[in-house]
Symmetry: C2
Subunit: 554 residues, 2 copies
Amino acid sequence: MQVVCEVFHKINFPALRQRKERKKYIIMIEWKNFDELASVKKLSALAGKVKLKEVMAGESGADRVKKYAVPMAEGLCYSYAPKEVDDDVLAALVELAKEAQLSDKFKALYNGEVINTGEKRMVLHHLTRGQLGEDVMADGVNKRSFYIEQQKRIADFANDVHAGKITNEKGEKFTTAVQIGIGGSDLGPRAMYLALENWAKKNNTFLMDAKFISNVDPDDASQVLAGTDVAHAIFILVSKSGTTLETLTNQSFVMDALKKAGLDPAKHMIAVTSETSPLAHSDDYLDAFYMDDYIGGRYSSTSTVGGAVLSLAFGPDVFARFLDGAAAEDKLATETDPLKNPDMLDALIGVYERNFLGYPATAVLPYSQAMSRFPAHLQQLDMESNGKSVNRFGEPVNYKTGPIIFGEPGTNGQHSFYQLLHQGTDIIPLQFIGFKKSQLENDVTIQGSTSQKKLDANVSAQIQAFATGKDDENRNKYFAGGRPSSIIIGDQLTPETLGALLAHYENKVMFQGFCWNVNSFDQEGVQLGKTLAKKVLAHETDGALKAYADIFGI
Amino acid sequence: MQVVCEVFHKINFPALRQRKERKKYIIMIEWKNFDELASVKKLSALAGKVKLKEVMAGESGADRVKKYAVPMAEGLCYSYAPKEVDDDVLAALVELAKEAQLSDKFKALYNGEVINTGEKRMVLHHLTRGQLGEDVMADGVNKRSFYIEQQKRIADFANDVHAGKITNEKGEKFTTAVQIGIGGSDLGPRAMYLALENWAKKNNTFLMDAKFISNVDPDDASQVLAGTDVAHAIFILVSKSGTTLETLTNQSFVMDALKKAGLDPAKHMIAVTSETSPLAHSDDYLDAFYMDDYIGGRYSSTSTVGGAVLSLAFGPDVFARFLDGAAAEDKLATETDPLKNPDMLDALIGVYERNFLGYPATAVLPYSQAMSRFPAHLQQLDMESNGKSVNRFGEPVNYKTGPIIFGEPGTNGQHSFYQLLHQGTDIIPLQFIGFKKSQLENDVTIQGSTSQKKLDANVSAQIQAFATGKDDENRNKYFAGGRPSSIIIGDQLTPETLGALLAHYENKVMFQGFCWNVNSFDQEGVQLGKTLAKKVLAHETDGALKAYADIFGI
């Protein structure tokens, strides 16, 4: 196995070739476009073959529920019986996975290949929670050791805050953590905080409130600050580059508020950033914790970006358990048989729905109020990763890539947009998530059942309703069925299961990016707006842009 | 003008015929399917004609910004320059509006015709905020008088609560209002509350906190109650039918909590319901306020459903100003020339995008953190109203109806899913909303500009970036442009402008429903799931549904 890694690229990566010598595995990877794959033709021919209304009815449906399920980490289970697949479709998807070398590409990724071709960067978020392959060296250090070190530094810091060793100027304990960040520095950590808040309260690990400031809209910072006891608040400034407009602006907002309250901002702020950023090693902060260019913002919940706020709020042990859940799911994702790999299988079925069945969107529907912002996080994760029209070599592609992602928790969504999902003119695949137990385990029995049972009965019922529909002579009450879904079922939403869920979707998006041959780890599409906004503020515009700037009085 | 109303229906409505005698206007309405309209062919031929990349560049773009704008109520302006329209397309859309009799149908609606054919009901939400046409009698009363009476009853009640005349058992003032409702009884009122919270604080009309319990997930009620001083809380139970499973379950949750705290639930709860519901005229509540079957849940924010919580939180005067804004926009919506009617024009352009340009979704992107849940409300409003596959007579249609609606506030969305909007393989039309001033008017100047200016510069820049894109030899940094948007611009988000915005979207959805000949006012698609959930709880299932129920241990 002492052979170099052979990666056939259409463009050159000198850095990559230099690292060849220390590789200990063989991967022969061809980065083919999706429409170059032979299995694509086969899948095309199968599209529409499976009629959910038939196969999900009666005993056939019960058999499918038994058969089409694959265990995930932490006791979760990915059930795909209500998807438009059968053994033939699955066999063709397995072929696609092999042909697209999904496992090999993942292996290359976690062993430190430069998978983010656009920005010429490695993609190492898996290393923030475990070691899947060989040691990855970069910037002169072992990256896994670096991430562990940062996690430990945060744990020590958080423990000191909780113990009252790190305090405000008056020696009083901090009671609130306020994260200042946007996009990946906001959506993921915020969703994870909300997902574990109840659980932590129930399990006596709720140590500090957390709040979040993200938008450049001045009302966002004003409102959060108005509801915060700033004298006892510790602010976490999160920006990898240290140059994010919104975040620096909101930092100034916060510093103003602290000064107005007669407080020293440097005693109330910590930074989470890269070591090369202007925020690193600065006297403006109590301390700084580091991430690096190999962690994309939307993949950063398990890095210091999520670690600081979650360790302060719930304690380092809870954050470590969250990482354990993610690591366990990552390990499953290394399985080469897609039928035993829930992350890969979910990705493949999604590709089938997008490219062969022609569905433009996917709805994410957690039956858990605590996961209220999880869909918003997945919206960024998925749409920013795979919403691309060029392949990883910058060449236009001729097939659909990432779908629209949206969702709200059930049962709320049932009383909102489910009408269109059931009876609209487009079919939208659904991803349900459900748990057997609530987090607070505080419940009432009405009409013979608890609220939790009602919640679970509803998600079960929805799956069946979407799949098999209902005949009715009154066409207004007729349900066509044939609307595919999957469900991830777990015992309870805990730090571990949340970590596994997060990793599942991160890995799903990665595998889909591999199928479509796009670079899931850059985001060039966000640049133009930033550039033009600067021009507006500098009054360097003409035409329509100047006309709108004039209307706004800029 | 003493002639009967002639409505050509394919089905009979005896109730409607009985009311003919008192009609004072002539409307000759034919409820044609969309694909029966002659203008549809004309529009088909025009599709793709306008190239945004060209027409929005340079001076042409500036001219369009001047030309393609129409005033809304309360100083708002609907700007559609960045849409794929020109004078020819607009002329054809005007023809479509006439042919589809949009103004006549609206007139019939507000004059009390049975427009909700599925449920054989009138559609009267406009009457909750003004009188657009003749008096509408139903249930033996003048409905406008009825809605005013209920609004006045709530105003008196809220004033008494604020003045300490209505108190808890100890004679102490209530400090928090907690709404218990789901779907239309939750999303709209919650979005409106959040939208006005800052404004009310700034203008010294913030009188009580409001909270919301919606989900049947027991963690929702548990968490809200844990953060609420129940001894000083007044709970608003909102259910038109008085039978909504989630709401009744959560009522029991709350009653338990009150009893455990040694309090009498009947002294802490009010009901908002229909007069025929089991919740009406009950000793279980301090008082009850009424709506009726002519107000759909998703159209109920201006009825008692929104009125109770908003009047308690911000005072009846603020709620009245919100209604004034909605009424003013409604009045504009009666304008028969679509080019002077922003609600109708927005609807027509949306239909053009959906049916002729083939776009599957629309994103709603308010550049205002206060509007964070407005997109979730519009998601219900639009998708539940027009996500239908049958026309108003229950016959299947052969064209696309309501699109997917999703959105988050800017600039947050820019750092999330905008990547796909700019460079993804599908084009998604965008609806921006922006204001010249923030609500709290508390701002900082960084790098020469305030946060509000940065916010407005960003939304302006996005419009241009989406429309004209950017050429680049590196295809990864290339923006194709040609991505249509519109923007509603206002001075500030106030009760009046919020009311106008709400009415704008309600009327837009209504006009689109008229174009597609669907009934935008029923929601049969939500029934099947409810029925099956009951079967699960009663253990009356088999097949896949039983298999899932077993997994959940139901």
